[in-house]
């Protein structure tokens, strides 16, 4: 079992005009994420009870009207933010895939969380994405594009940091044949990685706030 994440890098407040943004990479997979809100909402999209979420993942080529990643990102963020706090407003989270070298879904979710953290708006808990693939009955975490292409099954976990400090699954997206034991094994492999990503969030935010020490 390969249980290591690739090297993570992040630059916050990367895009000038967005309220919160990040350039995030894991290995050679890189995304730009931006988050603007709570902002003014068009009357046709306005919801009197809750905030309107506008999530889009855009790859660097091809038709980007809809991406399969939108669903899992949307459901994760709608669980992460207490939408009822800001009725009649909107938040736009846009993730641009810059370079795809595997596990783009996980990287997109992590980037979205970084953009939310950089924005500084209230939300319930930090979240991250971890992709696990199965190549010849071996589980690989955070695979490269090559490993992903040769895989017989993959599962993307969207993970919350629970209040007791243990990672909890929020949503997952599995492709291929998985039996229960394999899923269990994949999840136990993903847990330390999720914890590592949460630690990385903390160290990046620490760096951002270091200006206050003076």
């Amino acid at each position: 079992m390969a249980g290591r994440l690739r090297e993570m890098r992040c630059e916050l407040s990367f895009l000038k005009n967005a309220d919160g943004s990040a350039c995030f990479s894991q290995g050679s997979t890189c995304i730009w994420a931006s988050c603007s809100g709570p902002g003014d909402v068009h009357a046709s999209k306005a919801n009197e009870e809750a905030m309107t979420l506008d999530i889009s993942y855009r790859a660097n080529c091809g038709d980007n009207k809809f991406s399969v990643l939108n669903n899992i990102i949307q459901s994760t963020i709608s669980k992460a933010i207490n939408l009822e706090l800001f009725p009649h407003t909107t938040i736009a989270v846009t993730i641009h895939g810059i370079q795809d070298d595997g596990s783009i879904g996980a990287v997109a979710i992590n980037g979205a969380c970084f953009a939310l953290l950089d924005n500084g708006m209230p939300f319930e808990a930090v979240f991250c994405g971890v992709l696990v693939v199965r190549v010849k009955d071996e589980l690989i975490i955070d695979p490269t594009a090559k490993q992903e292409a040769s895989s017989t099954g993959r599962v993307l976990f969207a993970v919350f940091n629970g209040t007791d400090g243990h990672p909890e699954v929020c949503s997952m997206d599995a492709i291929g044949q998985w039996d229960f034991n394999q899923l269990e094994a994949a999840w136990s492999l993903a847990q330390p990685s999720a914890t590592a990503i949460f630690e990385f969030y903390r160290s990046v935010m620490q760096r951002k706030h270091s200006i206050d020490e003076h």
Binding site: E11, D40, V41, M121, Y201, R202
Partner: protein
Amino acid sequence: MFLKCITHLYLNQLILHYLLFHGNNHVNVSDMSIYLPGDVINEPSSSDSSIIGYGINLRGDKRLVTQPGALRSEEGKVWLSVHSKRYIPQEGDRVIGIVTSKTGDFFRLDIGTAEYAMINFTNFEGATKRNRPNLKTGDIIYATVFDSTPRTEAELTCVDDEKRARGMGQLNGGYMFKVSILKLDMDCYLYFVQVSLNHCRRLISPSCKILLTLGNFFKFEITVGMNGRIWINASTTDDIIKIHDILVKSELVTDEDELIAMVQNNYTRSV
């Protein structure tokens, strides 16, 4: 000289054993403690801090963090200092707004939030039913937020409980624009810039040397709104440009000598 704040961090080959020991919600307390949404605050113990401030929510008897920030505590109060560019109205904040329209008894103000804020014309010092404040679209107001219930517009006031303005009210002058517009009129003595909310809080904190240093070189007026807007006024346009440049650039300057050098450089340069 002013390097862009780069939060490039390299986490080389994460060794899982290390993280299993140091992981979870444990916060590495080096100089300050950073909390992320979902964390529970345990320090200082709940008995000696009864007032819960910005970025923290009470769930049962647990203090749950809702915004990412550094923990601050003083005299039985705890709050988080959050870095943000987007302003969310909070009761008691002093903000700078722009009059956008007038409807009946209310003025509509743009304070940088999703919806416009409202201010009743009686909430100005000396205003009565007969003597209404003479405000036009585009005027700048310094006011306090006193109602920020969701689902309704934020409501502002320019007087305190004793019906005194105490510095609030219209910021007088003829001209105003934002930093992104580079056109400068020669008659313009007023300047209006938009920076991050944290920089505004830092500017008006008593320990911050930026305004003190500026005051040694320039004669100027400044009003800092908690919604990230700064209004400055000086006797000449050149001074306004220099002060504006210093305020914007000083966001990432922490070293005092560097700050003084920067103010000096800007003071002596010709615009």
